[in-house]
Structure formats: C-alpha cells, structure tokens
C-alpha cells in the first residue's frame, strides 16, 4: 500500500478548475518528481496535500487515513512537511529560529535536529543568528529545506526548490537529497527544471493543465514523450 495517495483530486479557485482528478501514489521511501510547465497545477497539488487547500476527506490518504479535509497544522503533525514555493522564510526570525519553527509542533526523535541540519548545510551554522531574509537565495532555500526536515517528516514535499537559483547553487542543494533519502523519508519534488528532477526521482509524473499526462521511471521516458506531455502533443 502506498504511504501517500491522491484519488480523483480536484481543486478550484472560484469557478476556475485547477486540478481534474489527479491520482498519484507515493510508496514508503520513494522519491517522486512532478514536472510541468507554468500553471500546470503543481503548486495546487502540493497545497492540497498539505491541507492549505481543503479537499474532500478521501481525496488525499496518508498512511491509510483520509486527510483531505484536515487542517494544515494537523497534517504537518501527522508527518507531512512542506518546503513551500518561494521558500517563505519568516522575516522576523533568525536562521536558527526559522529552523526551530519546523519542529514547533511535531517533535519526534529522528535523524534531523539542529546539529544534523547544520551538518547537511554547514553555511547555515555560520549564519544562524542572522535574519533568514539576509541570506542569499540558495542559502534561504537550504533554511527552508532544513526547517521542513526538523520535524523528521515521513513525507517531504518540495515545491520548485530550484526556482530562481543559479545552476551551480541548484546542484549544491540537490547534492543534499541522497542524504535525505538515506534517512528513509519519502519525497515529492515539484520542478520545472526537468534535469534535476529526473536525476533524483524513482518515478516521474508530468502534469499539464491540471492533469497527469505521463508517468514512468526516469529511464523509460523518452525526451519526446516528456516534451509532448509537458507542452501538449501539438506544441
């Protein structure tokens, strides 16, 4: 049985429908990539799983429980942590306080605590007393990832962590993923940057206009198939 499932997941912003019945399965320990162009519905999918957008209870299942209608803070307490799009550090908190916020509610023993997050991203330890927003974009992204890890989540949702970062910085950040995987967390990475996502993922799902248009293992998907699923066959 999958650890996290979405079943017939739909989402609306007023009259506008952003998701049309999305079915996804994330197995324990698996890393899934969700790729798609601007406006494909990736963030909407992540926010629905995290509870920011309330859903029907059975549209999202986690560890055998219907969590679709649960509040975001309860979903986080259950073990799903989010690295939100745009990093979303708390500007009035220092780097270390931002990290501590990750463990505000869910305090479980596990591999991740301040020291191990600082081992993963040593630069953060040097800057721990600075305001989070004084850091470079890449370092802010490290704080956002570290903050989510602090709760020792069973599922880590990462929404476009490469957005707006230089390629060398993106490589640095993705270099942390093998370590995160080793600890047993299941991961969902949402990306427009297909290359990085394909490298870390066990499975890839391509989204277009609110639907999953292609799924498979990274090595079995051809460039053409991805291109079609990404932009539509006519493009």
């Amino acid at each position: 049985m999958a650890l996290l499932e979405t079943r017939g997941l739909t989402a609306f912003y007023g009259d506008f429908q952003a998701l049309f019945g999305v079915d996804l399965d994330l197995a324990e320990g698996e890393t899934m990539a969700v790729i798609g162009a601007n406006g494909a519905g990736k963030t909407t999918l992540m926010r629905s799983i995290a509870g920011v957008i309330a859903q029907k209870p059975d549209m999202v299942r986690f560890d055998g429980e219907n969590i679709g209608a649960m509040a975001p803070d309860d979903i986080m307490a259950a073990g799903i942590a989010m690295v939100p799009e745009g990093r979303k550090l708390f500007p009035s908190l220092s780097v270390e306080e931002n990290l501590l916020m990750g463990a505000h509610r869910r305090k479980v023993d596990g591999p991740w605590r301040l020291e191990t997050v600082y081992e993963l991203f040593p630069i953060l330890k040097e800057r721990r007393h600075q305001p989070g927003t004084a850091l470079s974009g890449g370092q802010q992204q490290m704080v956002s990832i570290g903050r989510a890890l602090m709760s020792n989540p069973r599922v880590l949702l990462c929404d476009e962590i490469s957005l707006g970062l230089a390629p060398v910085v993106i490589k640095d950040i993705y270099a942390a993923f093998p370590r995160i995987r080793e600890t047993g967390a299941s991961i969902v990475v949402v990306e427009q940057d297909i290359g990085q996502a394909m490298k870390v993922a066990d499975r890839v799902h391509c989204m277009m206009e609110g639907r999953v248009t292609l799924s498979g293992r990274p090595d079995e998907l051809s460039r053409e198939a991805i291109h079609d699923a990404y932009f539509g066959a006519a493009a």
Partner: protein
C-alpha cells in the same frame, strides 16, 4: 527644579499610559487587529477588581492577582468565539466588531454598576510618597512605572526567548506558512489576547486605584493607548513604553504651563512625532 519634578512626574504618568497601551500593541503586532474595545476592557477589569475587593475584603493587589486568570480566560474566549471569526484580509470587520463590543461593554457596565464614578480603595498607599532628594514621588505612580517596565520586560522575554513568542512572530509574518509548521493560528491568537488581557488587568489596577472611573471612561484610555502605540512604532514593545512616556511628559509639561493644556499637549506631542517620523520611533524593518 520645578521642571525636573514636572518631567519626573510625566515619566511616571507615562508608565500608566504604557500599561494602557502594551496590550493593544501586543495584539496589533501579532494579528494586525486594532481592538477598539481595549479601553472598555480596562474599565471592565477595574470593575472586576473592585468587586473582588468589596466582596472578599481583599487589598487591591491581591484582588488583581485573582482577576488575572479570569481576564486571561475572558480574552482567550473572546478571541476564540468572536474575533477569530472576523479576522481576515479585510480590516473593516474586526474594527466594526470591536466597536460594537465597546458599546455593549459600556452599556452592560452602566446596567450593572450605574453611572456613578468609582475608585478602588488602596488605603495608605493612595497618599504615600517617597522623598527623592528635594522631590517627592508618589508610591503609586512609582509602582505603576515599575510595573510598566516589568510588563515590557516580561512580554519582551515571551516574544524573543520562548517558543510561544517564536510562534507569535512567525504567525504575524505569515500565518499560512506558520500553519505548515504546525501552528494553529486561531489558538496562537487566543493565547495572545489572553496575555493582552493580563496586561489590561494590571493597567486596570493602577487606573482604578489612582483615579475615578465610570462605565464611559474607556474610550479616552483607548486614545492614549493608541497614541502611545503609534508613537513607538507599530509592534514595538519598548517603543510603546517610550510612546507612553512621551505622552506623559508632554501632558505634565503642558499642565505646568497652563493646567488646561494638559490633555491637549499630549495630543500635540503625538502629532509632532507623527509629522517627524510617520512610522513611529521604532518601526519594524518590514511589514
């Protein structure tokens, strides 16, 4: 010498205004809510203390101690049952609701306690004074001022040294992201308003023992509180204390020149500070 005395009395008076203002500042800083019933809640707490003093025959300080948890619970419930429902991106609904609450409180107090003005008896403390050099300082004003500093220190500690304070600041920055960290904004807000009501009770103790009050005393206290918060810079606790002191000194200074100018001088000081520093003395770096 007379001016040293004037300034000192003004500083001490500022402590009272700071106590009026700190609860307002706390709530505004965390949830951007301007509570128009703040002054009436201070008056309500003063009546509560008065009732405990009269019914149980206790001293005002002990009575205030008993009133603290009651007012905390009231603030918590007020936030849970009423204010959380109207908080949102639109600032008008909370303003209207707290304005309505202000009217309701005044009328309820009028029903319950009549329009007669009252005072919490403080016995010998009312007139006690300490000589500091050639100047004599009232014990109650001094206690008020020390309480204001104490309250500021404690709130500052809660804000910057505890995990509750961290959640306060995070929620104030970005409630959605805070909820992704497991914070329930509605519960954080309820705790904040509870704490604000504790400060309100301390303010009520000094308001009620140092001057007469009646059910309509609240709105004027709200104005002083509001001015102190704005002078200090929205969301800054030390700024609020400074704001209270500035109004206090302006008032005693004005009164020294002409007794009729006391209130006016306070408001003028407020306007002058706003003209020079529209965002207050210690504004937050971001908002």
């Amino acid at each position: 010498m007379i001016w040293v005395d004037t300034v000192l009395q003004g500083v001490l008076l500022g402590g009272l205004y700071a106590l009026f203002a700190l609860g307002l500042s706390l709530v505004f800083g965390i949830m951007r809510l301007v509570n128009l019933a703040h002054g009436d809640l201070i008056v309500l707490a003063a009546y509560l203390i008065l009732m405990i003093v009269t019914l149980l025959g206790l001293g005002p300080f002990l009575a205030a101690l008993i009133a603290l948890p009651i007012m905390f619970a009231l603030g918590w419930a007020l936030q849970r049952v009423v204010l959380n429902r109207v908080l949102g991106t639109d600032i008008l609904p909370p303003l209207l609701v707290t304005f309505g609450l202000s009217v309701v409180l005044q009328n309820a107090l009028l029903e319950g306690f009549s329009a007669d003005s009252r005072r919490i008896p403080a016995g010998w403390l009312e007139t006690a004074s300490l000589p500091i050099g050639p100047i004599s300082v009232g014990v109650m004003p001094l206690l008020t001022f020390l309480s204001a500093i104490g309250v500021t220190l404690v709130l500052q500690f809660i804000f910057y040294r505890t995990s509750l304070g961290r959640a306060f600041r995070a929620t104030s920055d970005d409630p959605v992201t805070a909820s992704l960290m497991g914070v329930k904004p509605s519960s954080v807000f309820a705790q904040a308003t509870g704490i604000a009501m504790v400060v309100v009770t301390i303010a009520a103790l000094y308001l009620g023992t140092r001057a007469n009050f009646d059910p309509t005393t609240g709105p004027a206290r709200l104005i002083y509180a509001f001015e102190a918060v704005i002078i200090g810079g929205l969301g800054s606790l030390w700024g609020t204390l400074a704001g209270g002191i500035i109004i206090g000194v302006a008032q005693t200074g004005g009164a020294q020149i002409n007794p009729e100018w006391q209130i006016l001088a306070g408001h003028i000081a407020f306007l002058v500070v706003l003209l020079i520093r529209p965002r207050g003395l210690f504004p937050r770096a971001f908002d």
